[in-house]
């Protein structure tokens, strides 16, 4: 069934104002990726672990990007419930999707490294367990969204789940600290755990991870904005 497209009502969302900054974030990411590839290739190998240690430059930035995405989802969800502005809902969805992507990369790269250094694919280390639970929570968040098909009700449901998911993070962390296995991740990355010559490659890799997150996030929000504009154009005025 085709409905007439209303041409008389321009919608604020149909303005593609995000384009220039998408180019900017894309160019920034491309530049950083070049620098990143150069620095990581020329970074010194680890004295004990050898070349496998370079997985650090993928593993940790992915973790940071994932945590950032989940935080965006929780905060944007709360703002959506408070203000009812659909832009917050689109940010929440984009944060969860990009966050799950980076979290998946983090969970995949971790065992490769762990097998080489800890001697096992999967140790139930606290930080690992918390990340796995987060991955499940935000996977459920995305499933919830796909099972409600982009309705306003679905956006509300997802926002509530995103907030509860965020509230569950410290509880999970506390629970695992209390009962979990021995910690195997290094305590701090700021201190002495990085060898000489690894500081800059690491800093740039984190920055590249953030730029990648930002660019993908912007692309995802842009896509969702266009979809909303299309839906709006497809509606035939008041029912």
């Amino acid at each position: 069934m085709s409905r007439p497209v209303s041409e008389s009502a321009p919608h604020p969302l149909s303005v593609a104002s995000g384009r220039p900054s998408l180019w900017t974030s894309g160019a920034l990411l491309a530049g950083l990726l070049l620098l990143y590839a150069f620095l990581v290739a020329s970074a010194p190998g680890d004295r004990v672990q050898g070349v496998i240690q370079k997985i650090l430059y993928v593993h940790v930035p992915c973790a940071f990007a994932a945590y950032l995405g989940f935080a965006v989802t929780g905060v944007a969800g709360a703002l959506y419930l408070w203000r009812g502005d659909e832009r917050f809902d689109r940010a929440a969805l984009a944060g969860a999707e990009v966050g799950v992507l980076f979290c998946t990369l983090n969970i995949l790269t971790g065992p490769i490294w762990a097998r080489a250094t800890w001697g096992q694919w999967w140790a139930w280390d606290p930080r690992l367990t918390v990340t796995l639970i987060l991955w499940f929570i935000y996977l459920a968040y995305l499933l919830l969204r796909s099972f409600t098909e982009g309705s306003e009700r679905g956006a509300r449901f997802a926002a509530v789940y995103g907030i509860v998911g965020l509230a569950a993070v410290p509880l999970n962390y506390f629970a695992i600290q209390l009962f979990g296995g021995a910690a195997m991740h290094p305590d701090n990355l700021e201190g002495d755990s990085l060898g000489p010559g690894m500081g800059w490659p690491f800093a740039i890799s984190v920055l590249t991870g953030m730029a990648a997150f930002w660019h993908l996030f912007r692309l995802r929000v842009d896509l969702e904005t266009r979809r909303a504009a299309l839906d709006f154009a497809g509606e035939s005025g008041p029912e």
């Binding site: 907030i163 509860v164 569950a168 509880l171 209390l178």
Partner: protein, 221 residues
Amino acid sequence: MNVLLAVLWKDLLTEWRSRDRVVAMLVFSLLVVMVFHFSLPGGASAQARENAPGLLWIAYVFAAVLGLNRAFAVELENDALSGIALVPADRGWVFLGKAAANVAVLGVVQAATAFAFGLVFDLDLARVALPLAGVVALGSIGICSVGTLFAAVAVRTRFREVMLPLLLLPLLVPVLSAAVRATASLAQTGEVGFAPVQLLIVTDAIYLIVSFVGFEYVLDE
């Protein structure tokens, strides 16, 4: 507060008149106990006794998910959910009424399941009945707080019954890990440390508060 009591009374009365939900949950959780018995070699061995607290809570969670799914499915008939949404009070009280009814129904199932567990795995749970009831109640509050909130969500998604456990289980990790620890130490030593109980109380409080507030947004206007 009156809304809470009214919803609680309504749910318990409808449950008492049909007894569908509690019977289904009870039979299911006894079946789970039986399945555990056959899937674990050794029956009432020392190893099985060590695993029993974890298995007990798995049975509880499965039964709870089954019951929570029904808690809002009944409200879909005759569009009763819209009527509930029109209550002239904070909807959080509706949530508390529903959650309290779920805790009560689950409690009946839990008591019977624990009895069966004690028999099958040769555990002397009677001597720690009172502290165990406290731990189980704290665990149930944790399960039924977010459980009631997301049962109201799941019932209006495309794959209703499938959605609830997917949403709920990752959130219940703190509740389950603390409850299993507390139950295990009660079954083995007859005493329970403060740490798991503290975690249960903190988790219950946080989940109750966010669910109370969040319930406002999961009912339609």
